[in-house]
Each structure stands twice: as structure tokens, then as C-alpha cells.
Amino acid sequence: MAELTINGATITTTADDDTPLLYVLTDELQLLGPRFGCGLAQCGSCSVLVDGVETRACVTPVSALAGKSITTLEGIASYYAAETGQPPRATTPLQNALVEEQALQCGYCYNGMIIKGTELLLNNPSPDDSEIRAAMSGHLCRCGTYPKIITAIHRAAGNLANASAGKAQTGEEHA
């Protein structure tokens, strides 16, 4: 039995202490954002923010989360607005950019991509290509949509001109 603060609301879970947070989110709360991918903290599909830090819900037991503030995809837009001092919106700039770029294929990895990408943009509002790659490399995508995610993060940061990994040619041209 533990009390958890999720997207600003306090809930009491009947889960055993060793239960990973993910199963409380998906089964007790029936949230659609965080989802199972590996159970090994290797892929990032289950990511949430814990006190603003991207955390793998699949290996984080509920007993470790007392007194902490958990934000899932369902709460990310409110969280982003509050952190940036903007009025609440239904989606984050990154979510909008992902739609504008038509970046997704199966879309299963996008919970983690949005959680991690939002954390990145809050810490570094104008990341360059290498900073994006470094920050996002713990998140896998089997469909291979990485180039468009990089472009979408640039777009969300208001730096679409910096995008080089998608359709545009890079500066890596062969001599």
C-alpha cells in the first residue's frame, strides 16, 4: 500500500511494494501513455518524469516513489506549460511538431520519445544535433523514425533551420 502523486493527483495503490510503477499506471490507472517494452530499462517505452527527471517505470518499484511527483504522457502538457510559465495547452510543442513532421510510424516508442524530448527541451531549449542525439540515445525506435524525431525536436525548439538529419542534405557530403 503506497501513496503516489501522479499528474498532480494523489492516489493510493494496493500494489505490493516491489511492484514496478508501470503496472500501477497501466493496470490500476489504465493510462495509455507509459507502456511495456522490455521490463529491463533498455528501451524507454515506459518512461515517466519523476520530479522532472526521465525515469523507467518498468524497473522503479512503487516503494521508491513516496513523496515524489510523477508525470506521465497524460500530464506532460500541463507540466510543460507550468515549467515554462505558459498557459495550459492540450499538447506540448514537441507533440505538435511530431504531428507536423508526420514522424511516427507504429507510434509505440513515442511515449518515451515525448517524455525524454520534453525533458531535454526544458533543460536545453535550443539543443543542437549532437545534443539531441546524446540525450535521446537511450530511447529505441524499431521503425527507424530517428531522423524525423530529430527534426521534430528542432522544430519544437523553433530551430527548424538547424534540422539536418531528415530529408535535407547534411554537411557530410563526400569530397
Binding site: 507502456r35 522490455c38 533498455q42 528501451c43 507504429c106 516508442c109 540515445s137
Partner: protein
């Protein structure tokens, strides 16, 4: 046969219970003209099986091809909207369901648009023709005087909507396929980058994948198997099982039939823990070759051989000016969808409902029915999108496991494969051994092309059925995609003498196999196109220009040139004038290839660190000619995904196994490419409005694999004979 009974869970209950069809583009409202769910497939010879027009002047299109993240559910609606003269906002589709949607065959071999477009196009054209005839009768004017826009038929100053003409009533019209279709030059909706219907919901986290589905009163299920499969023939054998070993998890229960073992529990974490802690001893034989002996056993063991192509006389090579012989291998690689497979089932005495992400729901229905001892008509299979599968991952296995466990438990069950289940019990893309021998005259024209290859076929029996019923392992009967592909293997070249020899290895003593995106083609092109490239080098020719000289077919020439031009290719002999900085040397390569249809060409820029052996792919350019491309944005995404996945498969992906079983069981032991090593990509579409759509889901991977291999030679002057390009293999090649 007993009278089939319809599924006891009515659609309305189902919506209330699971919400399965509520989301996304699935239509939530049960309109009167919507077919009453009944055991399918619906009669494909009736227009009503394809299209329903509603009173509010919207349409539902019933499509048998599934959404795999490739955008088929949007693109096929574009086709229907175009022929019906309706807007995309007026048109939608339903999820695939054996009680509702037609059987168009499985969604593989890039079939959704290639096969689906003409079917949907003709059905929509025939519906429009019928609607115009109704309007002409109503207005007393000839059909030719009518115009249509957004489903509103206009005759002079009077109008009537499709919805007013037939809304929620049946056409009762045979589908003849004879109605004229539009001239592509008049298209407004097709051949455009229409935004996908599913993306906004996915980006907001409101989309329900199969992993999100729930059934009332369901139990959570997990399968229990050894970590990593052994030889296909051996299956799984239980030596001993200690049910008391999970007595400390009171919510968990062991289910067993034959050698199939599963766990069910009300709480998911209890099922996960119990499946890990259950004490089972397995019979494990040491019958696999392991990675060390794989290729020699394939090549030297018994095979059944077939001459697949024999044109002219390849002994002409003996008097040719230049000959290149090149041998190489390709590893087992895994599908490993980003989410392991998941399925839900509610099995009753005389019926079953299965929710899964099968690429072929009618085929899954048959196999589940056999396992349960039901008639196919008693089983209802509904498709819900999983994570991108790229071929036959464990979705049938998961569907069977859910159905069997529901039958054994007497309750609805949701089975979620764990990461090691998916990695360890996949039907892998089979390994390959190939040998190419090509020759040319002094003028750079190909004289001969020879290739022989060794591989096994696909596994027919799912592990659940094999373990639960003792069904012996067997392979699929031969099918083009599991044998030498004459299109990728020299089919693009004008060589007057050509011979392909297929060596079928009996797959029962190997790992399980099935189709993995562009089956076997990466291996074929990796070997074949390096032989061609070597010939160009021997002749002192630029590799692009050498291919141009030997390709006359316009589609092949088109993709070859499109890729080279996008990359601003500057002709030169390979491995001359390369960039190098310290121990890092750069190279550029080109290749052509495809799967069973369409045409692909690619260029790769890579760099090799000759000190560490690390290879990085800097930029991939990929061109596809897929005939008429319905949704250019979707195909652009497909090309990007294929290029990134090819980079991953060439640099990183290989199933590891010893003589007992598979040892690559997660993303650490079977790594795939991440952001840090993802190349820049340039997708190129060769659009041909006047040609049939021929598929774009897998047709540039072979070319990209070849381009990467040839770029390695350009950079280093050495050739790789195996992939993925691990540091050890690279250093060995450079030594």
C-alpha cells in the same frame, strides 16, 4: 460440420467492455447499413462488403489490409475518396475483423497498396456509378450531365447527397469490377502527401495498441519457456515442473497442456514474477550448429537443389576479359517489434474471440480454431495494431497462447510476451550462404552472371501449437520469398548468360525462420552487388557508370540514377582519392536491388576507423520506384525507415546462439541502431502516375545493404564477406 454460432459478445457489449473499437479511425457508431457481425469473410463479390454510405453523407470503407504504422489505413481511404469524389473527412474505415472485413489476404510482401488499391478503387468506382444512376433517375437527366463534389451530386441548380440517395441502406449490387476508374492525370486526392489519420492520436498517447486492450474479468497471462529457443525440431520438452515453487505468489496459477506452460494471475506483476520464478527443468539437446559452425553446416550438409534460372551458357565466363568470384554470408536476424507481442482471448465452449496483431487474421483464425478444437467460423479474430513487426514476429504464437490459456483457465486472458520471449522465440529472418561469379568483356559489358545460395524455408508450426499438441515441426512449402530472388540476383542486368542455383537446407535442425522485411534480399545484394562492384574495379571503371552500361530496363536505370544524382555522385574508380583524417577513412558506394516487386537504388557514405574497426554510416540515399505512389509522405517515411533499419542490420544485428539455444535475448545482447549512430537519410520517390502501384514497404533495403558494403571497399580497399560489421570482423578484414 455443426452449425456455426456467432460470437456471444455482441458488438455493443464489446464496446462497453473493452473499448476496443472506440478509438482512432475505427468507427464507433453502429449505423444501420453497417453489416451485422457474422462469421466471415463477407462476400467479396458484393459492393456492400466494401463500402457503406451513411445518412450523414459519410462513408465507411471495409478494408482487409491492416495498419502496421505504414499508413495503409490512410492511403487506401485516399483511393476510395478519389473514386467516390468525397473528402477525406467524410470517409473512414474500421478495424479488421473476421466478422466484418473482407479477406484480401495477408498484409505482407508490400501487398496493402499493390493488391488493395485496385480492389478498393474498383469497388468505389462501382459504388459511385450506382449512386450516379440513382441521381440521374431522381432528376430525370442523363448521368453524363451530373457532377459530384464532396459526395454531393449536382444536376444544374439541384443537388442531392449520397447520404440522401442511399444513406444506411444496402446497394445489393454485385461487384463486377467493370466500372470505369478515373484517369490518374485528373487525381485530386491520390499521389499526394495526405496526413495520416492515426498520427495525432499516437502523438497524444490516445491510440490503443493491442497492448492497451482489455477484456472484462480477464486474467494476466505469461508464457513459461526456456530462455532462447533450441533447434526447431526439438521444440520444448518439460523434464520436471514444481508447481509449489510459486506457492508464495498466491494470486498466480500454473496452466499446462502437454509441454506448454503458462501462468495466469489477476495482478500482472504476480504473473510476471511467477513466470520467472516457476521451477521448470527443460530437456535441452545440443543439436544446433551455433554461430561457429552455422555456415559450414548449411553449405556442406544435405540440400535439395533447383536450378531457378538458366539462360544462355555461363561457361562463357571462361573466355571473358574479367571475372569476379565473391562468396559471403548473412546472419539470422530478428523482427523484435519494439513492444513484444500481446494478444487477448475469450474462449467459450463453442466460440472464441481473439484480439491480436496478426498480419493475416483469416489465417490466424484457422490456426487458433485447430488448436482449440473449434470450427473456423466459431472463432472471431480482431486486429489491433501492435508495435511495428516487419514480418512474422510472434503474433500468431501470442494469439495461440492467449486462446489456449483462456480455454485452460476458463476466463478471458491477456498474454503479454516478455522481451526475452520475443527475442528468444522469434521466427528469425533465415541465415544465408551465397556465392556469386560474374564476368565482363573488355568494353565493360557483362558476359555472365552466376549465383548459388543456401538457406532454409520458413517454419509452419507456432511454438504454442508445437508444445501443446506435439504437432511435429515442418516447413512452409516453397514460396518465392524464401528462395533465391531472381530480381535482386542479377535481374537488373543485361547479362546474356545467367544461372541461379537454389540449395534448400532442411530447416528442422536450425532456428525457426520466417519472413523478415525484404526476406533474404539484404544477404543476396550484399554478395551479388559486391561481385558486380569488384568487376567494375577490375575494369578501372566507376561503379555507377559500370551499372549504367549494363542496365537497359528503364525502372532499374531510373532508381540507379535517382539515387546517384541525389547523392551528387562524382564518377571515379573505387578506392581512389578517398578522404582520410588520422585513422578514419571515408568511402561511398552504390547498389541496386529490391524484393519481389518495385525497384530500389541506393548510395551510402560511410567512415571506417581503421584503428578501432568501428564503422559509421554518415548518409544513406534511397530511391524507390513503386509505380504510382498513393501517399508520397507515407512512402517517404517507408524509405527513411528502410534505410535506418538497413543501417542497423548491417552494423549491429545478429542472432547469437550456441549448440543449445539462442543467447541474444534483449536489446543489450541483440542491439539495434540508436540515435547516436543513426545516419542522415535522403528518400527519393520515382513517381509513375501511369503504372500500377507495386509496393514500397521493403524495396530499397537490398540496394542500401549493397551500397554500404561497396562503400566499405571504397574506403578501405577490402571487402567484407560477413555482416553485421562488428569491430572484430572489420579489423580482421583490414589485417
Amino acid at each position: 460440420m455443426t452449425q456455426p454460432k456467432t460470437q456471444p459478445i455482441g458488438r455493443r457489449d464489446f464496446l462497453k467492455a473493452g473499448g476496443a473499437l472506440v478509438v482512432s479511425f475505427h468507427i464507433p457508431v453502429l449505423a444501420q447499413s453497417t453489416p451485422v457481425p457474422q462469421a466471415g469473410p463477407p462476400d467479396a463479390q458484393q459492393i456492400d462488403s466494401w463500402i457503406a454510405i451513411h445518412q450523414d453523407n459519410t462513408a465507411t470503407v471495409y478494408i482487409g489490409f491492416v495498419e502496421l504504422g505504414q499508413g495503409a489505413s490512410t492511403a487506401l481511404l485516399q483511393v476510395a475518396a478519389e473514386e467516390l469524389d468525397m473528402a477525406m473527412s467524410q470517409i473512414r474505415t474500421t478495424g479488421q475483423d473476421t466478422h466484418l472485413t473482407p479477406n484480401q489476404g495477408g498484409t505482407y510482401s508490400s501487398s496493402a497498396i499493390r493488391v488493395g488499391r485496385p480492389q478498393v478503387q474498383r469497388a468505389a468506382a462501382e459504388a459511385r456509378q450506382a449512386l450516379l444512376a440513382m441521381a440521374a433517375t431522381r432528376f430525370g437527366v442523363p448521368v453524363a450531365s451530373l457532377t459530384v463534389e464532396n459526395g454531393i451530386v449536382r444536376a444544374g441548380n439541384t443537388t442531392v447527397t449520397y447520404g440522401e440517395l442511399i444513406g444506411d441502406r444496402r446497394f445489393n449490387l454485385a461487384f463486377t469490377g467493370n466500372a470505369p476508374v478515373k484517369d490518374p492525370s485528373t487525381y485530386n486526392m491520390v499521389a499526394r502527401p495526405v496526413p495520416r489519420n492515426d498520427i495525432p492520436l499516437k502523438a497524444r498517447g490516445q491510440y490503443r495498441h493491442v497492448q492497451h486492450q482489455r477484456l472484462p474479468d480477464m486474467l494476466h497471462g505469461r508464457i513459461v519457456r526456456p530462455r532462447g529457443q533450441g533447434a526447431y525440431r526439438d521444440g520444448v520438452k518439460v523434464q520436471s515442473l514444481d508447481v509449489a515453487s510459486i506457492a508464495h505468489i498466491p494470486g498466480a496459477r500454473v496452466l499446462r497442456q502437454g509441454d506448454f506452460i503458462g501462468i495466469v494471475a489477476e495482478r500482472e506483476w504476480d504473473a510476471v514474477k511467477a513466470a520467472q520464478q516457476l521451477d521448470v527443468t527443460w530437456v535441452r539437446s545440443r543439436s544446433l550448429p551455433g554461430n561457429a559452425d552455422l555456415f559450414s553446416r548449411m553449405e556442406n550438409g544435405p540440400t535439395s537443389d533447383r536450378v531457378a534460372v538458366d539462360e544462355g551458357d555461363v561457361s562463357a565466363a571462361n573466355s571473358a576479359h574479367a571475372v569476379s568470384a565473391f562468396a559471403g554470408t548473412g546472419p539470422y536476424q530478428a523482427h523484435v517489434p519494439f513492444a513484444p507481442n500481446c494478444a487477448l482471448a475469450d474462449v467459450r465452449e463453442d466460440s472464441a474471440l481473439v484480439l491480436c496483431s496478426s498480419q493475416d487474421i483469416y489465417n490466424t483464425r484457422t490456426s487458433v480454431a485447430m488448436l482449440l478444437g473449434l470450427e473456423p467460423e466459431q472463432v472471431r479474430v480482431q486486429y489491433h495494431e501492435g508495435a511495428g513487426t516487419f514480418g512474422h514476429s510472434c503474433w500468431d504464437d501470442a494469439a495461440q497462447a492467449a486462446a489456449l490459456m483462456s480455454q485452460l483457465a476458463g476466463s478471458p486472458v491477456r498474454v503479454q510476451f516478455m522481451r526475452w520471449d520475443e527475442h528468444g522465440w522469434d521466427t528469425y529472418g533465415p541465415a544465408h550462404v551465397g556465392k556469386a561469379r560474374v564476368s565482363a568483356d573488355a568494353g565493360g559489358k557483362l558476359v555472365s552472371y552466376e549465383y548459388e545460395g543456401w538457406q532454409h524455408h520458413w517454419s509452419l508450426i507456432e511454438t504454442t501449437a508445437q508444445t501443446a499438441t506435439g504437432t511435429p515441426a515442418s516447413e512452409w512449402p516453397p514460396f518465392p520469398a524464401m528462395q533465391l530472388n531472381p530480381r535482386t540476383l542479377g535481374g537488373m542486368y543485361d547479362a546474356p548468360n545467367r544461372k541461379l542455383v537454389n540449395h534448400h537446407v532442411d530447416g528442422l535442425d536450425y532456428l525457426k525462420g520466417a519472413w523478415l522485411r525484404s526476406p533474404l534480399d539484404l544477404s543476396f545484394a550484399f554478395i551479388s552487388e559486391q561481385a558486380i562492384d569488384d568487376l567494375a574495379w577490375q575494369l578501372g571503371m566507376d561503379p555507377w557508370q559500370f551499372r549504367q552500361r549494363n542496365i537497359s530496363e528503364y525502372h532499374w536505370l531510373g532508381v540507379l540514377n535517382a539515387a546517384a544524382e541525389a547523392a551528387n555522385w562524382q564518377p571515379r574508380r573505387a578506392n581512389t582519392g578517398n578522404d582520410s583524417r588520422g585513422t578514419t577513412v571515408r568511402g561511398r558506394g552504390i547498389g541496386v536491388g529490391t524484393h519481389l516487386a518495385s525497384w530500389g537504388g541506393a548510395v551510402a557514405d560511410i567512415e571506417v576507423d581503421t584503428a578501432t574497426g568501428e564503422v559509421n554510416i554518415l548518409h544513406l540515399y534511397g530511391a524507390i520506384d513503386a509505380g504510382l505512389v498513393v501517399n508520397t509522405a507515407n512512402v517517404e517515411n517507408q524509405i527513411i525507415g528502410q534505410l535506418v533499419q538497413t543501417a542497423s542490420r548491417m552494423l549491429l544485428e545478429e542472432i547469437t546462439f550456441d549448440d543449445t539455444g539462442v543467447t541474444s535475448l534483449d536489446w543489450s545482447t541483440y542491439p539495434i541502431i540508436r540515435f547516436d549512430r543513426c545516419p542522415a537519410v535522403t528518400p527519393v520517390i520515382v513517381q509513375r502516375l501511369d503504372e500500377p502501384s507495386s509496393g514500397a514497404g521493403e524495396e530499397v533495403m537490398a540496394a542500401a545493404a549493397a551500397a554500404i558494403a561497396n562503400a566499405f571497399f571504397d574506403a578501405t580497399g577490402k571487402r567484407m564477406t560477413m555482416y553485421p560489421f562488428t569491430r572484430e570482423r572489420v579489423l580482421a578484414a583490414l589485417a
